[in-house]
């Protein structure tokens, strides 16, 4: 087991270095000078331009900038945003709880709906329900998030007036954030109605962000169920006269869940990618919205720092999933060790 853990960590380190390189170079490959973008039509004289480049350290050769970035990184310094002059890490930490909250809510929605839908579709293979689930999940999977979000806003917020349009809580509630998680903070605030308002604001973005994972989970659960239901031991269970509920719930589902858990783990990265669009539509103050703005302003330190931090989160989650498999399934552990 120790060897397995060491191997996994051995993979993480080069991945992390690779990510620093990608994060650093990708934004620099995008054409556009941050200073030209900043001054716009107004323009800037060449000396002043050169002075600003020097001030931000962008006049140095790229490899020097990269080594500087790595050096600072080792000391836990991700630099300062060239736009707001605030440390990148503190901006990220301020905004990240909003993204986590949204992603968790989306995942809970996806699992809570996707899993039962997939199970029933698998058990009642070929039924109208099965066809409906498959058709709907295919649609959900191919749905452009931006369009889907707007559609839901227009229907539920605009026409029906059931949910608020955007934001994390009604702007009329006023309290200082404590944890950064609005559901918790609204409870801590003790203001009547604040928690309800926060929940109501979370519904639509969570549905929008959870739609693609939901579709994936439903389809994966269905096919895993189908595979397991054809196994000999299920037939044996039937022959033993066990109740169908017990067979499905205890024997089939437990085995079918293994690949499903994998999929849920893999969705973390996708969720964070989806959060970028969802946050922009719903004016959700998370890191997605922030990264989009940083990219369009060519705020190099924010983009490279932000991408690195997001990647670190994804790497960590995947590492934990890997380790968990090793723990659950001895075959994976031995395979890695040999």
């Amino acid at each position: 087991m120790l060897r397995f853990v060491a191997t996994r960590f051995g993979i993480v380190i080069p991945t992390f270095i690779g990510v620093t390189l990608v994060a650093f170079s990708l934004i620099r490959l995008v054409p556009g000078d941050p200073i030209e973008l900043w001054v716009g039509e107004r323009g800037i004289d060449p000396e002043r331009h050169a002075e600003l480049l020097r001030q931000f350290g962008f006049d140095r050769p790229l490899w020097q900038q990269y080594l500087g970035f790595l050096g600072d990184l080792l000391q836990g310094d991700l630099g300062k945003s060239i736009v707001t002059q605030q440390p990148v890490l503190s901006e990220f930490l301020t905004l990240f709880p909003a993204t986590i909250e949204l992603s968790l809510a989306a995942m809970i929605f996806a699992v809570a709906v996707g899993l039962p839908a997939g199970i029933i579709a698998g058990v009642r293979r070929g039924s109208a329900f099965d066809h409906t689930v498959m058709a709907v999940s295919l649609t959900g999977y191919s749905m452009p998030i931006f369009w889907w979000g707007l559609l839901l806003i227009i229907l539920f917020s605009g026409t029906l007036g059931w949910t608020p349009v955007s934001g994390r809580i009604s702007v009329l509630y006023f309290f200082e954030p404590v944890t950064g998680f609005m559901l918790i903070d609204s409870l801590l605030s003790g203001e009547p109605g604040a928690f309800k308002s926060a929940v109501r604001h979370l519904i639509l973005p969570a549905i929008v962000l959870g739609t693609i994972p939901l579709a994936v989970i439903a389809r994966q659960t269905r096919s895993a169920m189908l595979e397991v239901l054809g196994e000999d031991y299920i037939r044996t269970a039937h022959a033993k006269g066990l109740s169908p509920l017990r067979i499905i719930g205890l024997h089939a589902l437990r085995n079918a869940l293994i690949p499903v858990v994998t999929i849920i783990g893999l969705q973390t990265g996708l969720l964070l990618a989806g959060a970028i669009l969802t946050e922009t539509i719903f004016a959700w103050p998370g890191i997605g919205n922030w990264l989009v703005n940083s990219i369009s302003r060519r705020d190099y330190p924010s983009v490279q720092g932000g991408v690195l931090l997001v990647a670190s989160v994804v790497i960590t989650v995947n590492l934990m999933v890997d380790l968990a498999y090793g723990l659950i399934n001895p075959r994976i552990r031995r395979g890695a060790g040999s």
Partner: protein, 553 residues
């Protein structure tokens, strides 16, 4: 970040409002009809709260450090005052923190008499011990002007507007005559100087607060937790989510009617519209042109409109052949059907431009005769200039700008128009920063661009975009340096007599039209949807959004 806590009163009012909102929402649910929750805003209580769905987050709260309108809306337009100000909804200059001012005969000395009894905001970190005086003016300008000032490098120390308006070379010295008199000594005569002082970068910050923060070792707080003399003071900023202000109780021009001002940051225009419709905000900027008709039909929404202080143009690079020949430029002017562009690109939210300055600016020459749309005459003129079957390019910017909502579409229409007279044009585009840089270097034959005015002075369009100095540094995208035209602009800079300046600029516009370095395409119309309960909102010609003077029914 929080600046100061809510008062008991304000807190109670907010709760009442919230309960009101919930009550209305329940009614909506029960009746399943869409009734605006904004009813609750107004039905609520005595304290008035206005919610503005702003388009983005400010870069910070010190307007001298930044250049974006979003930042100015959140800072200078509410938190600070300038020595002189633009009258609400106009480009007229009125007294601000200076009660009066006068210039010496040679125009090099400008003396300002400051207003007495002006109070700064009291915040969690700072309680002012004195009223506004000359020291605050000196601090606010010296910080930007003097590289050795202890605050010059704080918060990045980039004062791009101060630099961009050539203030470092223009201002020789700033002298405190006494506590309530300040004198600016200039290196040369510059008629638009007073208008420059009404711009956002010239906001006056508190010197006493700055000293205190410097002593505490936290100078950057001056820019993050601002203290000004403006009609509102900052209460809380939650990045990318919300900015809260409360009315400054001792504001020198009288306390604002709106007690609590909230900016709900909402980047997407369609979502802003939905929020406005649902009563989650009262005012929204930058609507999608496609939504305007529906907004105008909505009984709960008033759509205000005004011609923007801008111009969208196509500049010919006169350093390249055959654009050095004015007949070619005139012919290409005549070949473009501008009205078709207004209809297709602006969807009616624009007006054909004939002068390089918008009609809302003084000295706009009504007498200028625009080139008629006449492909036949254009073809003949082009042949006469020996440029028949011309092959060229049109640069189209990749972004939406206030003066041009869709440059690509505009370029396609021009391309088709020119094809009718035998001119073959290729459309070229680059990423925005690259586009600005390359067009400044003169790599184009013709380039679509535009300008939004900074200070309402004609000089800010004519000299900045078409003067000989601008041709050298490339801001003059036509690279057109025409002595008779330039002489008029220089002469106009050197007199403060508005009547005389008007004559000079009117003449300059006629020369410009005759020489045709640009095709003046359009001035856009700015639309501002506000809810019916909003009283006396005025569109700022400079594109800003300010709420002092606004009330709620």
């Amino acid at each position: 970040m929080g600046v100061s806590g809510p008062s008991e009163d304000r807190y109670r009012t907010a709760t009442v409002e919230k309960q009101g909102v919930e009550k209305v929402r329940n009614r909506i649910l029960a009746a399943a009809v869409c009734v605006s929750a904004a009813v609750a805003f107004s039905a609520a209580a005595s304290a008035k709260t206005l919610v503005y769905c702003s388009e983005g987050s400010p870069e910070g709260f010190n307007p001298s450090l930044y250049t974006s309108g979003t930042t100015f809306d959140a800072s200078s337009r509410h938190l600070f005052n300038k020595l002189v100000e633009f009258e609400r909804g106009s480009t007229k200059i009125v007294p601000g923190l200076a009660e009066s001012w006068h210039a010496s005969r040679d125009g090099l000395l400008h003396t300002f008499r400051l207003r007495r009894g002006v109070k700064f905001h009291t915040t969690r970190n700072f309680t002012p011990s004195r009223d506004f005086n000359a020291d605050d003016v000196l601090y606010s300008f010296q910080r930007q002007h003097d590289p050795n000032h202890p605050y010059h490098k704080v918060s990045g120390g980039t004062y791009e507007y101060y630099q961009g308006m050539s203030m470092p070379s223009l201002i020789k010295d700033i002298v405190k005559i006494d506590d309530y008199t300040v004198q600016f000594v200039l290196n040369q005569q510059e008629a638009p100087f007073i208008a420059n002082l009404a711009m956002d970068f010239a906001s006056i910050l508190s010197a006493e607060y700055a000293e205190k923060m410097l002593a505490a070792g936290t100078p950057e707080k001056v820019d993050l937790e601002p203290v000004g003399t403006g009609p509102y003071q900052l209460v809380q900023y939650q990045k990318d989510a919300v900015i809260r202000y409360k009315a400054h109780p001792d504001y020198w021009a009288g306390k604002a009617s709106i007690d609590n001002l909230i900016f709900a940051i909402t980047p997407d225009a369609s979502v802003r519209y939905q929020k406005l419709k649902a009563g989650e905000c009262h005012v929204m900027p930058y609507p999608n042109p496609a939504d305007i008709a529906a907004m105008q039909a909505d009984p709960d929404i008033n759509v205000l409109q005004q011609e923007g202080l801008n111009v969208g143009y196509l500049a010919f690079n006169v350093e390249r052949k055959p654009f050095d020949d004015k007949r070619v430029r005139q012919a290409l002017n005549m070949a473009i059907n501008k009205q078709a562009i207004i209809d297709a690109v602006f969807q009616g939210a624009g007006k054909v431009a004939k002068n390089p300055i918008p009609p809302t600016i003084w000295s706009y020459n009504e007498a200028t005769k625009d080139y008629p749309y006449d492909p036949q005459a254009a073809k003949a003129l082009l042949a006469e200039a020996g440029a028949a079957n011309l092959k060229t390019n049109i640069w189209a910017m990749p972004v939406q700008r206030p003066y041009n909502p869709n440059a690509r579409r505009m370029a396609e229409i021009i391309q088709a128009d020119w094809a009718k007279i035998g001119v073959e044009a290729e459309i070229v585009s680059f990423e925005w920063g690259e586009y600005l840089k390359r067009s400044k270097n003169g790599e184009h034959d013709s380039v679509l661009l535009g300008w939004t005015g900074d200070n309402g002075d004609p000089d800010n369009f004519l000299y900045v975009l078409l003067g000989c100095d601008a041709a050298k540094d490339g801001t003059n995208r036509a690279r057109w340096c025409h002595e008779p035209f330039n002489d008029l602009l220089v002469k106009a800079k050197q007199t403060s007599d508005v009547g005389e300046r008007t004559k000079l600029y009117e003449q300059a516009q006629l020369i410009f039209k005759e020489e045709a370095p640009w095709v003046t395409v359009a001035h856009s119309v700015v639309f501002m949807p506000v809810r019916k309960e909003v009283v006396d909102y005025r569109i700022d010609p400079f594109g800003g959004h300010a709420f002092y003077g606004v009330d709620l029914k």
